[in-house]
Subunit: 340 residues, 2 copies
């Protein structure tokens, strides 16, 4: 509970000098800086954030709104993001204010939170295509960072992986292994990333002259993977390889393949995109899963830093990061089976 004034009184210095000493300003001598630092430590000084925020005009809080599905199911990715984000933000003296959105209108929760007038910016996750939240915040000039891409040429900070490239890389690997009938078990198309995966898949299949007629887009569930793979495998010319949106889907697909009496990777190759969630780890599959890998956890620190840099004045065009996922080849992919 020590204050700048108390430190100053202790040393016979002004608050100005104490403040500058502690904040590393150049116009204070090293000798005094050392003394100030020492008594600050001795008195257990911690800057009063509220006072700092009053004078800087910033609240030091950013918002994130969690969209909850009608069934109240917790998105597996949510805790992963939440964990990393709070840690990364707190390293930069920023707090996360969380709100839960159950409204039909996707921007209503943002309006409500903004009315309280205490947030410096927002972190937007799980975007849909042309996300209405983006338009809403952009119109009002509220800073935010988007996790992912919701449109081709954003003029706001974004951070995410190239989801079209994820599909392209996967198709490329499989086609090099000789596969020509490749299935895509995608996530729900309401999500922007699922759109990009689909677009990337269609484009690279077309570029190779392959027919992309084994595509399914549904929720990321084990059961979805199972059902869709079973269905596709009962075709006259079933796919010899599956690209799965998530490891969860992949586990369903693998179960389906085996239920049909087929071998992985002998008869069917399976690969997935891997967010590196602790629940379903690609490495624990039997055989270990070939993946495009981009740990969600890794996105948290960049997201936090991008938003805070943006708040500090860095222009949006310097804060648009699109990474490529890493391709990790493991045992679940192999050469296409010989045609009989």
């Amino acid at each position: 509970m020590a204050t700048l004034k108390e430190i100053g009184a202790e040393l016979g210095l002004s608050v100005t000098t104490v403040s500058r000493a502690l904040n590393g300003f150049p116009e204070v001598s090293e000798a005094t800086r050392a003394k100030v630092q020492e008594t600050a430590d001795k008195l257990g000084y911690r800057p009063n954030r509220i006072a700092q925020r009053l004078v800087t005009g910033r609240s030091g809080m950013v918002g994130m709104i969690v969209k909850i599905k009608p069934d109240m199911s917790a998105d597996q990715t949510f805790f992963e993001i939440l964990t990393g984000l709070t840690a990364a933000l707190s390293a930069r003296e920023t707090d996360l204010v969380l709100a839960v959105d159950q409204e039909d209108d996707p921007v209503l929760s943002y309006k409500k939170l903004l009315e309280r007038d205490i947030l410096d910016g927002f972190i937007l996750n799980a975007p849909v295509m042309n996300d209405p939240r983006v338009d809403f915040l952009r119109e009002r000039g509220i800073p935010f960072v988007l996790h992912g891409q919701d449109r081709p040429e954003p003029d706001y900070p974004t951070y995410g992986i190239d989801n079209a490239a994820v599909s392209a890389d996967s198709v490329k690997l499989l086609s090099q292994l000789g596969h020509t009938r490749i299935g895509l078990i995608n996530g729900e198309l309401s999500a922007a990333h699922a759109n990009d995966r689909l677009a990337g898949f269609m484009a690279s299949m077309a570029a190779l002259g392959l027919k992309a007629d084994a595509v399914r887009n549904e929720a990321s569930l084990e059961s979805h993977g199972y059902v869709q793979a079973l269905d596709l495998l009962s075709r006259p010319n079933p796919p010899t390889a599956f690209i799965c949106a998530t490891t969860l889907i992949a586990s369903g697909v693998m179960r389906a393949v085996r239920d049909r009496g087929l071998k992985v990777p002998g008869d069917v190759s399976i690969m997935a995109h891997d967010d590196a969630l602790p629940l379903t780890r690609a490495i624990n599959f039997e055989p270990a899963l070939t993946v495009t890998r981009a740990p969600l956890r890794d996105a948290c620190e960049p997201l936090a830093n991008i938003l805070i840099d943006h708040l500090n004045g860095t222009p949006a065009r310097d804060l648009q990061v699109v990474l490529n996922a890493e391709l990790i080849v493991r045992g679940s992919t192999g050469p296409a089976p010989k045609e009989e």
Copy 2:
């Protein structure tokens, strides 16, 4: 962005008067209050929370730390609590700062958050018996409210239901229906409420002279209910009634009962405690489930208010609420089957 000063300038009043007019102080005339209110509305005045907090010495933020299990599974109850809590807190101009705890040491996250020195208090949920977080916060004089009971005679604010009574009520109902062999499929004993349920069960069974030898304590999962019920039903003298810790467990128990070719409630009665989670609704069971009911959602507003009242000076002993769950008899319970 209007300030008190601007409103004052507009009307030729001092900031003092404007502040008092808006905050409903008695020493300002109704005429001026009306004028002040009017121009405040006209200018779109919103009090600067940061300035308020600086002068009141409070941050307006309370913390909650979410404990995540090693498998990163999201507790079903978490979103329920989060939703209600943010709403209730924001009604009292308070924000929720969330942190995620993955440490082994249960108090480490609290230490870290306290170091940042910006929280007025904490909301503690999912207590274990003699919760170490309680001891930690109590020692340092940090205000908090506990959702539930972790020890017999707390000297801090608490809010929760009487879990021993939940069991007692359930046992009473079933014994009045003639059941003598009653099973308890409880949650994990690490949770304080599971302890209380167990204690209440043992006590009331003993009071009735009944043998309490069909008790299982494990995670609240459908599969747990299924497995344990199957096991208990294969005994020579199987239970004729089950008390389940959650509706999720109850659904597993019901499946087990039917897999054994038994009828509910003809052969076996089933009841559960119902937190009123949207996922598994007691009323959607076939037959509808008899429950002791205490919606988790209903706890959020009291929790928020208790903590804030406590911060405002209300002593802890006036803020200890123990409610009784409502007993709702539906179709899943019936008279004990006649012994052959």
